[in-house]
């Protein structure tokens, strides 16, 4: 068995392993799911199959009175780190005899049995926001070069660059979509501390700090704002150009018609001149 894998049969009594995926729409009533606490909007739906995949989170919960002394700590850590390709360090939060380990797509919670469910839910919620923020960051990074290249194309707007209007419209839509998704995350990520605090709320706040969610969200929002402003400007310029183009076509139509009239008059005059 892989060192990062855990045989469910070997887990201590009261421990469990679940897999979640996140949805933004209310799941069917029959589904095992829990809603995120306000102001977050979303649901974590429990999955039957254990297959890992993008946007899925595996949660391992182990009851123990003192996680730092528990023999399960190292196994839980290596399991949490095993989610990433090649292994990666996981974030650790230790608070009031509770231990939360957050890896890539994996989350391990070690705490007293009566606190385990609440802690797991709080950690799952933060992990969901972390995953969503990560997705947005990856999408932005993937599009960065292409979007930056557009800056070169916006130096001039003329007849031959008119074909780019669809591209700017599409890009503006893409950037706005990312910005909206980022805006939706703002409320839970920048939520003030809960009062009176609970162990779950404090763990959630610490996980947010440990994963730099607020800073990452601000950076992402700033970057998206820059591109949004750029494409909005492009879109305005394209619209202005289209409006000016319509006027120009009308003007030139009049000019062509006047030219024809002048031409016909000129030839009439030429025809009426006496032959040499």
């Amino acid at each position: 068995m892989h060192p990062s894998a855990i045989d469910p049969g070997s887990l201590p009594p009261g421990a469990w392993q679940r897999h979640y995926r996140f949805v933004e729409q209310p799941p069917p009533e029959a589904a095992a799911a829990f809603a995120f606490s306000p102001p977050a909007v979303g649901w974590a739906v429990e999955l039957d199959d254990a297959a890992a995949g993008a946007g899925r989170l595996a949660v391992l919960a182990i009851p123990c009175t003192d996680p730092e002394e528990s023999p399960w700590q190292e196994r839980a850590r290596s399991w949490a780190e095993g989610g990433a390709a090649g292994g990666a360090n996981c974030s650790t939060v230790i608070l009031q005899h509770a231990l939360v380990l957050t890896g890539c797509g994996r989350l391990a919670v070690l705490a007293a049995e009566d606190r385990l469910e609440a802690l797991a839910r709080a950690a799952v919620e933060t992990a969901c926001h972390d995953l969503q923020l990560g997705d947005l960051e990856r999408e932005l990074a993937g599009n960065w070069a292409e979007w930056q290249a557009d800056v070169q194309l916006t130096q001039t707007f003329n007849e031959r660059t008119l074909a780019r209007q669809d591209r700017f419209r599409r890009r503006f839509g893409e950037v706005t979509d990312l910005a909206l998704r980022a805006a939706r995350l703002a409320a839970p990520i920048h939520a003030p501390h809960v009062h009176p605090p609970t162990l779950a709320s404090q763990v959630q706040e610490r996980l947010r700090d440990r994963r730099h969610l607020a800073h990452r969200h601000e950076t992402l929002t700033d970057q998206l704002g820059t591109f949004q402003q750029f494409y909005e400007g492009c879109w305005h310029r394209v619209n202005d150009h289209l409006l000016a183009r319509s006027s120009r076509i009308l003007e030139w139509t009049i000019i062509v018609l006047l030219g024809l009239q002048i031409l016909l008059s000129l030839y009439e005059i030429l025809g009426s001149l006496p032959a040499q």
């Binding site: 003329n158 007849e159 031959r160 074909a163 183009r245 120009r248 076509i249 030139w252 139509t253 062509v256 018609l257 024809l260 031409l263 016909l264 030839y267 009439e268 030429l270 025809g271 001149l273 040499q276």
Partner: protein, 356 residues
């Protein structure tokens, strides 16, 4: 970027012109396919100019540089056209307004019009085509043509009329071809939908021309005589313009889909390389084919102390003229295969050296 579809069409235009000119000038016979080459040549000048400008823009040339190159190319062709008229058609035909002077002037116009919105260019082309019959009626077109040839006096009035309406290739209506080529080029070669619009426009134009030809008898006499003069190249009638332009559009789109969009179709064919060579040296071949069949006529007649044009149109029989034309084309193919691989030499290289 070279498009094989353009090369094939230009090669076809050159081959048609060579055959027609040999038959007309040596045997005095006008072949039935006369009138297909010049419209194609004029149309492709607009297409090539659009692609040339796009290429310069990609290379980062400024608008001013592109304008200067365009004007120099236009003036080069105008000058070459007049020199061609003097040296090939002899000085009395300096101002016969042949195809080279027309294409040179067309380039000057395209340079001025290249930033106009396409709908304006389409309107301009349509207006030029539509007003031409009226202008011909106003200037008395038939008075300038005797025995199938343009005969204008060396007066300012006749020069203007010849250039604009009555010459072999006057601005009205022939300028419609390069304008159409300029408008169509991006819609064929840059279009995502594989030039469907251009294909429909071509089919529509050809259909309208066919309808006008078929229904000519139903129109009132005045309209039929002034506007619908049947199928004819001199003068270029509305039916002729619509029919040739529509056919060219359809053929260009089909060739583009067949050859340019599926390079495998042309890969390995020696005809493709030959078409490229003929297309690359089309201007040189156009000038040279006149020189090789007209100068001997003039020199022979001059040597016999007769009228210089004494043998024009009656030097050979039709089969001999066709054989000579075919021989010329074969000789061109051999020469191009031997000397034309590097793209140097020829009038085209001179034009690039002077203008670019």
């Amino acid at each position: 970027m070279r498009y094989l579809s353009i090369d094939v069409l230009r090669t076809f235009a050159i081959a048609v012109m060579v055959l027609v000119h040999f038959c007309e000038n040596l045997a005095g016979v006008t072949p039935p396919f006369t009138g297909l080459g010049a419209p194609l040549f004029a149309f492709l000048s607009g297409v090539s100019y659009r692609l040339l400008v796009a290429g310069y823009e990609r290379k980062g040339r400024s608008e001013e540089q592109i304008s200067k190159i365009s004007v120099r190319r236009g003036l080069f062709l105008l000058g070459l056209g007049f020199a061609f008229n003097v040296l090939v058609w002899l000085p009395e035909d300096t101002f016969n307004w042949d195809v080279l002077t027309f294409i040179g002037f067309g380039l000057l116009v395209l340079n001025l019009a290249r930033d106009l919105p396409p709908p304006v260019l389409v309107l301009l082309a349509a207006a030029i085509a539509g007003v031409a019959p009226v202008l011909r009626a106003l200037v008395g077109y038939d008075a300038y043509w005797t025995q199938g040839d343009y005969e204008g006096d060396l007066t300012l009035h006749d020069l203007f009329v010849g250039w604009s309406v009555a010459g072999y290739f006057p601005v009205f209506p022939w300028l419609a071809y390069p304008l159409a080529g300029f408008v169509v080029a991006p819609r064929v070669f840059d279009a995502a939908d594989a030039s469907r619009q251009a294909l429909l426009a071509g089919v529509g134009l050809a259909a309208v021309a066919a309808l006008l030809l078929a229904l000519r008898g139903l129109f009132p006499d005045r309209i039929a005589q002034a506007f619908l003069q049947g199928w004819g190249m001199f003068p270029a009638t509305i039916e002729y313009l619509g029919g040739t332009l529509g056919t060219i559009l359809v053929v260009l789109v089909l060739l583009h889909r067949w050859l340019d969009c599926r390079p495998a179709a042309a890969a390995g064919g020696c005809w493709a390389g030959l078409a490229q060579q003929f297309s690359r040296y089309a201007l040189t071949i156009y000038v040279v084919h006149h020189v090789v069949h007209l100068w001997p006529l003039w020199l022979l007649a001059d040597r016999r102390a007769g009228e210089t044009t004494q043998h024009w149109g009656q030097a050979t029989s039709v089969p001999t003229a066709v054989a000579l034309a075919a021989g010329f084309l074969l000789a061109c193919a051999a020469c191009l295969r031997r000397f034309g691989r590097d793209g140097r030499g020829g009038l085209e290289a001179w034009m690039r050296w002077v203008c670019d």
